[in-house]
């Protein structure tokens, strides 16, 4: 009896907590998104009296000359390209750092750590971008996202590469494998679980990034999805129904991603966690 209670009680508790933490906010979001403006302004958890899903959806989509559509395209390019570069670059750096001991290792490790510790400054970064002609361009922002995410990814990869036996590299080299081929054909495929972790964590992070696009990519044509939230919210006037509809729309992509990659994330996290 008590064991059954223990087993099911704990499960039920976990489910209840999940509902409170995840489902209720989601339901609140969805309900507010279909209300009309006056009802939404109350910000209460109630069943809408009228359903305005289509109207709200159209309003959000067409606001500021279909800014949301541009924003989705921009955000998709930004996320896909940044994450791709991040994965390849971070894996390469981590591999070299882990496998080749030299006196530069200390310096490189220090730089990677400082990337995590030192907060980025906006104005000097803009100067650098301006001097390279990259300011206000998507490639400029991609480089910024890569730079800010690199430290974290390198550390994840390093921890995992430490668990791959060095003999594998040696065997490949003896068989006549060059460094590039060794990396792409032997090491890179082995990193699969960490790669998925990095992809998921970083793409959610970059997709949801607000600060960097705000400062480094100004202009309506360059908007990313998080910036579209500002179309409906301001100090004196806020259309909560449209705001929540917008939130709902831009929450869907990361949500789907989590659903698909959920299992792999946990595997990837634990794979890199035990060895350092």
């Amino acid at each position: 009896m008590t064991t059954a209670l223990k087993r099911y009680g704990l499960g039920a508790l976990a489910i209840a907590v999940t509902i409170v933490v995840f489902i209720i906010p989601l339901a609140f979001m969805a309900l507010t998104a279909v209300k009309d403006r006056r009802e939404a302004a109350k910000l209460d958890f109630s069943w809408p009296t009228t359903f305005n899903f289509l109207e709200n959806f159209q309003d959000v989509l067409s606001a500021r000359k279909f800014m949301l559509v541009t924003a989705f395209i921009n955000s998709t390019i930004l996320t896909v390209v940044s994450v791709t570069i991040l994965v390849v670059l971070a894996a390469m750096v981590a591999w070299i750092l882990q496998r080749r001991r030299s006196r530069w290792n200390g310096v490189a490790n220090f730089l990677i750590l400082s990337g995590l510790i030192i907060p980025p400054a906006v104005v000097p970064t803009i100067w650098v971008l301006q001097s390279m002609g990259l300011f206000k361009t998507l490639p400029g922002l991609i480089l910024i996202e890569v730079a800010f995410g690199l430290s974290f990814c390198v550390m994840l990869f390093r921890a995992f590469i430490a668990s791959i036996p060095k003999e594998l590299d040696e065997a490949a080299v003896i068989d006549g494998c060059g460094p590039v081929r060794l990396f792409f054909r032997v090491i890179f495929p082995l990193l699969r679980s960490v790669i998925i972790t990095v992809i998921v964590v970083q793409s959610v992070h970059i997709f949801n990034d607000f600060q960097n696009p705000l400062y480094f990519l100004p202009g309506d044509a360059n908007a990313t999805v998080q910036l579209t939230l500002f179309n409906f919210q301001s100090q004196f006037t806020t259309s909560y129904n449209l705001l929540f509809m917008n939130i709902l729309l831009i929450t869907i992509p990361p949500f789907i991603m989590y659903l698909f990659f959920n299992r792999q994330i946990v595997a990837g996290m634990t794979a890199g966690a035990v060895k350092g």
Binding site: L43, T84, V122, K136, L138, F184, P218, F230, Q235
Partner: protein, 439 residues
């Protein structure tokens, strides 16, 4: 590991790298649109629904009048984030051709002399109201034209509730309290306070400034010079005292601590609450959310002690400025001239209706303005019946006022104590601005 798996990963890696290179290569700028004598200028405005709507209407009407110039409206957030954007873009030389920004003390913080193009001698400055010019002046030069309407920090009240109880608009603080008590007896919340949205708590102090200025015309100058203090000036401390008095008398709505600005407006519109000390910037929100109730809402200034000196605290509109970095100076000036003309006001009225008086000469308000705007007009027309808010007259404004007034309104801190604490709070800022008399 099978061969096919390996091959797939390799091709994936090669593919994405190629894609990355292609994308980074082709993203270059296409900033200015085409030839044929047509030019596009950009105008950065804040993202309020109201602002964006009228800015786009102005852009459209301006292009209709000047077919060779197109105006692109860009938006930025408000508040601290917006200040940072404006400062960042100015200091990196990347500002739009024109931008809207606050007048008064915030205007001085963007180093106008260093960053902006002076427009003192432009012919269109003759259209700008003289009461606006001082708040966009730095040194000897004027830098901006007004956009949007004047606003007030005052009490919005529900006329239906007043009518039902046979009350008249209070001219003094004691009348205001008497009215409030009657409203409470009738079962309606007399004064709406919404402390979850902290800025709304400051109105008792900020909106009371016209009374301070009428009682002591030199207060602003003395305050800037560190000679007058909120805690020691008998007129200035009144704002804090009134807030404390109202709180002690239990005249607030029960949920004042957790209510939000949006909920406050709803209470006011539905008549659950009778009086809401707030900025008249709330009128556009009332207009879109409660269009049928808009004309139930009236406005009166926060009353002081002397009925004959009852005056309205005025918030002047923001300015439109041209940064020195612009490459389209002539076109930008043309747009400025358009904004500072009757045609400019008319486009704004067409887009969002008039939410207050314009600060451009010759701009009349239409007949069908909201009741609260009508209540505002007599005070605006007579200089002796209004005063700009302190933030337009003195650069000294502490960051913690809203927290302090929340404490007073919640009964945690006494008025005297709060005024003294606020005086401490402004010290840091005055020292940062390096004002004479503070070090």
């Amino acid at each position: 590991m099978t061969t096919s798996n390996r091959r797939r990963w390799t091709s994936l890696a090669v593919g994405v790298t190629a894609l990355a290179v292609a994308l980074t290569g082709c993203g270059g700028g296409n900033a200015s649109g085409g030839g044929g004598g047509e030019k596009t200028i950009t105008w950065l405005v804040d993202n309020t629904e109201n602002t964006v709507t009228y800015a786009e209407q102005i852009a459209k009407d301006f292009t209709a009048a000047n077919p060779t110039i197109k105006v692109e409206v860009e938006t930025r957030p408000q508040g601290g984030e917006g200040d940072n954007i404006v400062k960042t873009r100015l200091s990196t030389g990347d500002m739009a051709d024109l931008f809207s920004y606050n007048s008064g003390s915030l205007f001085h913080q963007i180093s106008p002399e260093q960053n902006l193009v002076p427009v003192t001698s432009e012919p269109y400055m003759a259209n700008v109201s003289d009461s606006f010019k001082p708040v966009v002046t730095a040194g000897k030069e004027i830098y901006g034209v007004p956009v949007g309407t004047g606003n007030a920090g005052a009490v919005l009240y529900n006329k239906k509730v007043y009518e039902k109880l046979g009350l008249s608009v209070p001219k003094t603080w004691s009348e205001f309290l008497a009215n409030s008590r009657k409203i409470k007896e009738a079962g309606t919340d007399p004064i709406i306070q919404t402390y979850q949205t902290t800025w709304t708590s400051q109105l008792f102090v900020l909106g009371d400034f016209a009374n301070v200025a009428k009682a002591d015309p030199d207060f602003a100058a003395n305050y800037t010079a560190n000679k007058a203090k909120y805690a020691t000036d008998p007129a200035a401390v009144k704002g804090f005292e009134h807030l404390e008095e109202a709180a002690k008398a239990g005249l607030f709505n029960k949920d004042y601590a957790s209510a939000t600005y949006a909920q406050g407006l709803e209470k006011l519109a539905n008549g659950e609450g009778a009086q809401y000390p707030i900025l008249s910037f709330a009128l556009p929100e009332l207009k879109v959310t409660f269009p049928d109730k808009l004309n139930d809402i009236g406005l009166f200034p926060l009353p002081g002690d002397d009925a004959s000196k009852n005056a309205l605290t005025v918030w002047l509109p923001g300015g439109v400025y041209i940064p020195k970095s612009t490459k389209n100076l002539d076109e930008a000036k043309k747009l400025q001239a358009f904004i500072a003309s009757k045609a400019g006001c008319d486009s704004q009225t067409k887009a969002v209706g008039a939410n207050g008086p314009y600060l451009v000469k010759g701009c009349d308000l239409p007949e069908d303005v909201p009741a609260a705007v009508k209540d505002m007009l007599p005070y605006f027309e007579d200089q002796s019946k209004n005063s700009p808010a302190l933030e337009y007259l003195s650069p000294v404004k502490g960051p913690a006022l809203e927290q302090i007034t929340v404490e007073v309104g919640s009964g945690i801190r006494s008025a005297k104590d709060a005024a003294a604490l606020y005086d401490e709070d402004v010290k840091k800022q005055a020292k940062q601005l390096n004002l004479p008399g503070w070090n």
